[in-house]
Point group: C7
Chain length 75, copies 7
């Protein structure tokens, strides 16, 4: 398993991979992680909003403000 | 596809294009992205408030405070 | 149309003009923009609180704390 | 009308005058503005809590934490 | 009446006196003000939690985190 | 009675003693105060979660994030 | 018992051990603590979301934003 010194290293390891992002409003955004910063602002490509394990709508590229995020996990 | 080093690069790439902004109060503002800063404060031109995929009202130019924003995506 | 480099430029452009401010508590304050700062603290003159497109009460000069603001738009 | 360069100038102009402060919990405190700082922490003298345009209780001198304030307006 | 240059001066003036602290969760703590800092973190001695003008329980010495405080007023 | 210059002095005085911590979600954690920092992040040893004056579960050592804390008081 | 000078020392002591993380949305994430930072952003490996003492779903590696965390305790 890959070892991470700091939490942002784990995000870096997920770059260009599909990730699931859970938001504080209970929405789930799934997409390819393209960029992030120390505020955990995130840019995903080919993103989709999911609800109850089904695609609710396609978003394409999306910028997500960090303070609305609960967790990020590989798909 | 365009590559972004940092999340704000993606916003820069959307300048002068139509974007959808989702707010924490469940409102959706659609407009032409004119300016943004590190707090994700945003200025849109020709903005409209949408609800259930219909225009609720026209706002013209609008300043949106960053901490009220969930996500920003091209229209 | 006027171009804005930074979001606060748009506020500067609205100085001494009538603006609508929407607050997180769903209230709407309409007044003449007199001053603002980087926290988006705002001072309006001749301000009125509106509800359902009607004046609820006259406030005169009012200081609004920035973190309570969702958006600002010309009337 | 007095012109204000910055929002705090308007508060300074209200020093030693009666002001109405609206709080995020929907309470209204009316008193004489004695002191404020950049966080909009406020001290009022001869303060009263109002509800539905009636005095609910007398508070005397009161320190109000800035982050609980929505707006401040002369009485 | 004592004049205060800054809001914290008013807290300093209340040191070793009984104060009422109203919290964002609607609780009221009454005690002797012993210490405070710029975050408005507070230490009270001989503190009591009040509800509907009655003592709900005795707390003795209590540390209150500043961001949970709405207002502080002499008893 | 011990005098405290700053609020954190009171926490320091409670080190290695049993304290009650009330959280914003209405839970109560009781344990031995082992460490704290300026954010009021706390580590307790032999901690228990209490509800209605009864132990709900034993937690052992627990790290509590400061921004979730309302107050801290000796048991 | 191990003594901790600062709260983050306790997190350091739990590195590579199973921890329970309670979130502000009442979810519980259990996993192996791999990394943390001063914001209490956390990376867990082999993480699972639990509800009512049962596994709700397996998450694998997960990045948790610090401001969503209430407490962290060894399993």
């Amino acid at each position: 398993m890959v070892e991470f010194e700091r939490p942002l290293d784990a995000l870096n390891h997920s770059k260009n991979k599909r990730v699931i992002i859970e938001l504080k409003n209970n929405k789930q955004i799934i997409g390819t992680l393209k960029a992030f910063d120390v505020h955990i602002n995130i840019v995903l490509a080919d993103a989709e909003e999911h609800e109850n394990a089904q695609i609710k709508r396609k978003l394409g590229t999306v910028f997500i403000r960090g303070d609305t995020i609960i967790l990020i996990t590989p798909q």
